[in-house]
Symmetry: C2
Subunit: 547 residues, 2 copies
């Protein structure tokens, strides 16, 4: 008989030594320790952490009075404004789940999400009233609608619901006694994937993961306390990579931004001495290509995170030239946003800009608080060799992986099969253990039996002068099976020269990877800026069918 | 009937999305992401994170070969040397519990701990062989003894066991497949309280708390990555406030130090550009009073944490004058070391040194990852008003509170009663919500019905020129019940002047708080530097009995 383990006797969890991990706790601390520190800046509006906490409690209290509680969904259709920050706390304070809706979606997609997520309340900004009105018409049981009539917003749109947000929260109690979740595994947020095809899936986050990712953002960025954070990244996108919660833990300042505009961004950076922001490659590109006078007069250090399946290395190079300290992160909606980081090494500072960019442009290594990240053969679930050549699928494991997909056990089980979350992204592991993405599995082009990474070709195209975006898809070919076909979007006013671009590719790519066709023109994107390759493929297919 | 909560259906924990929180994971990441970064410096020795990881795995493997596993205790009697860092990982990697022994204890106390903790293995440094030999003689079933014969140590002492540490870990596998704890509530460490009276209690830490406190140290300190950390704080003391794990998460460098010596400390700070260290007030005092030439030539920023129930404000003032950035933290063995911090406010920089010292010298507010800290009437369990006057007991709640006391359910239940950990420290809450300690509950002096904080009086005494340590206890008094009686330790070569000191106290204290007697001479301290007031009280009592 084995002796009893003395460390497991009389040492159970009690309310004194075990509390759920929840990012809500950071707000309470910010408000009590730094009550007068500015929490949110929006136009001429200023809130302190004490005020933000009181407003969140009012929101929670008002929602509870309307019967909202544990397991209910509250959807929001909001730009990056103070109400959006407040919803990240006030809604979970009731036990309910925050469902941020992508403001660029159409009525049908919104209606699908409201119905699938069973939203009981919808908080929506006047700017989106046309879309929302359309969506509500499609629902048999529309939610309670609360309108945000943002003082900073002067554009069109009307109030649709029965009460305005300020009036609504005024019905709540600023001293509302909210509680921590009884179990940290309880859901805190619901985020629908933008998915390039098919119905979106509802990714469910829990309090534990939101808490850990919020803290890990600070660790990976080496973020000092009281940062000034500019909201260039939509908060509806993976809960702004958990940064609403990060900023409460950091006791920093949220600088709101309703619309992406290069001049506005630079002006806010200068006015508020913004120290940190996150953005997709497309936003960084905007900043790089902004008029020179915008960029002048920034004396303080600015740190930025960039993520995307494949940020062209030109973005990293461009931001470095701008003097911003850029760090590359990688993740998916299913991993609370970034769950890996291209952790920098001091010795890279001695490399040439091009070599450093190559190093810094990789997907990198697991976040410190994620348990595992690797590249595996998805059939055998064995790790690929660290040779920089053998492709496999990127897999994550750990506390920064979603609970699963709402009401979709098949998709949940499939995505979490074998003890790892399957990203669908193809990559290699380089000899230093850093992961470099090659492609989405469905985007690989197979030409004469050889795999061609569409990302590699796109990266070369993006370095051609004047190219804003590039997308490469497979063109059916009788001899090779498939060959690369490129779509290229140029800066305004420029005209494309197919032969010159092909010649440029020949200089920088193996022969078989060079696109056989170049199409110039606008490239279709999803509402989150992802290129819709399936549309390009359809275009290519119908064209080749006609031929 | 209530509708089912859709967020709780088909969204269970899986190996892909739920992993135990354990600080062991930080070591693996440091070693794989930054294999060549220096992990440990000890004299002329240098280890990289890759090497430290391999050594920890060898240690774990070698222990496992000796039958060590889940729930077993491995005790260590080690100074701050590389082996001590390694024990913080290698021992828990087997599922066993690390029991660090206070190297200043005597044989009897060590024997008590080895017996109570049921240590199966003892890893001990040659320096302590006399004490350990004595302790082993007191045991019926002595543990397996492994000697560390540290190359840096040239003093006396002999090897007692059957194998030396280097030879022992050489029997282990550098690729040992260790596992994370199945449950993050599993014990990781056992720390005996030094207690000023009675048998020590065995405080049990779990992986979850060690992980969270390790991370929280980084948050509270605003610690940048790759810090250089000097080991002035004993690792045997609350596992060095969890900093062995913090430094792995930080991918920083541990600078070892076998013995406290002011010149050695300043030399290491200069040689290795030490950025961070922690220490008790007594160590800081040593540095403040060190010869001027020691202090010259430090050009880089040095950050330090100081903790102790009552660091005299003179320490904070002295360190500031030295140009070091000092932060005051507070906690107990039961809270993994510090669990509160006197979080600074930028506007305090504009105060006078004395006012800023007053602000910075408080126990402050909860650590960001601790759930609660307050001051309550222990009878009614209600919070005292934030008036800076009403005394109550400091209470903590959250994930940075121990599992409990090993094999001591009564003490565990008592200390965690009412959902809060009772510290036994008396304090007030100031109007800004910051907590300021007044005394240990048993150290308060009640004079004519008025409470006198011994700490307040000691603080004044410590500001008198030449005073190194001061301790104030109650002297029985026929008229007032009790009056303050002071014990004062002066710098070497100085002689005490009772009237002058009493006069000084009159200038700085209310009349009834002024000590009626001043005794000059050495003050008895525990092995961790805590003043043994019970001995002083005995001295006072027997003296007054004789009178």
């Amino acid at each position: 008989m084995q002796a009893a383990n003395p460390y497991q006797i009389g040492l159970d969890k009690t309310p004194a030594n075990h509390v759920s991990l929840s990012p809500l706790t950071f707000l309470e601390r910010a408000a009590t320790v730094y009550p007068n520190t500015i929490s949110v800046i929006h136009g001429d509006q200023r809130f302190t952490w004490q005020e933000t906490y009181a407003r969140c409690r009012r929101l929670a209290s008002a929602l509870q009075q309307r019967g909202i509680g544990k397991g209910d969904t509250v959807a929001v259709m909001l730009p990056n404004i103070p109400a959006m920050v407040e919803c990240h706390f006030g809604i979970p304070m009731t036990g309910a789940v925050l469902n941020t809706l992508n403001t660029r979606l159409d009525a049908e997609a919104i209606a699908f999400m409201l119905k699938h997520g069973e939203a009981k309340v919808l908080i929506t900004d006047r700017e989106f009233s046309d879309t929302i009105a359309g969506a509500l018409k499609l629902l048999e049981q529309p939610p309670l609608v609360i309108d945000v009539d943002d003082v900073v917003y002067t554009g069109s749109g009307k109030c649709l619901g029965e009460i305005e947000y300020e009036a609504f929260i005024a019905t709540g109690d600023a001293n509302f006694a909210w509680g921590m979740p009884a179990d940290e595994w309880e859901a805190i947020a619901l985020n629908y994937t933008s998915g390039t095809t098919g119905n979106p899936k509802g990714v469910v986050y829990h309090h534990r993961g939101a808490y850990l990712n919020a803290v890990c953002n600070i660790l990976e960025w080496g973020m000092p306390r009281h940062a000034v954070y500019l909201w260039t990244l939509p908060m509806f996108h993976c809960n702004g990579w958990c940064f609403p919660w990060t900023m409460a833990a950091n006791v920093g300042t949220n600088v709101c931004l309703r619309r992406i505009d290069a001049r506005a961004i630079f002006d806010l950076i200068k006015e508020h001495k913004v120290t940190h922001y996150c953005a997709a490659p497309i936003v960084h590109n905007l900043l790089i290509n902004a008029p020179a006078d915008c960029k002048e007069g920034i004396e303080h250090g600015v740190n930025c995170l960039v993520a995307g399946a494949a940020p062209p290395s030109s973005v990293i190079e461009g931001m470095e030239k701008l003097g911003f300290n850029i760090t590359h992160v990688y993740g998916l909606t299913e991993t609370y946003g970034p769950a890996s980081v291209c952790a920098k090494h001091p010795e890279w500072d001695n490399l040439t800009l091009a070599d450093r960019t190559e190093k810094n442009g990789r997907q990198g290594v697991r976040y410190s608080m994620q348990d595992g990240m690797t590249v595996m053969d998805p059939n055998t679930m064995t790790e690929v060799p660290h040779d920089g050549e053998t492709m496999g699928e990127i897999m994550f494991r750990g506390n920064l992986v979603m609970k699963g997909y709402l009401k979709n056990p098949d998709a949940t089980n499939e995505s979490l099969a074998g003890g790892w979350f399957h990203t669908g992204d193809l990559a290699v592991i380089q000899p230093d253990g850093y992961i470099k993405i090659k492609d989405r599995s469905k985007d690989v082009i197979i030409s004469g039996g050889e795999n061609i990474s569409s990302i590699e070709v796109e990266d070369v195209l993006c370095r051609y002068p004047g190219v804003i975006t590039a997308a490469v898809v497979a063109l059916p070919d009788p001899k090779w099976g498939e060959v690369p076909c490129a779509f290229v979007e140029l800066a305004e006013g420029l005209e494309g020269n197919e032969q010159a671009v092909i010649e440029y590719c020949r200089e920088h790519l193996a022969r078989f990877k060079v696109p056989k066709q170049i199409h110039f023109g606008p490239i279709p994107k999803t509402s989150t800026g992802k290129i819709q390759k399936f549309l390009l493929r359809q275009q290519v297919k119908s064209a080749s069918a006609i031929e």
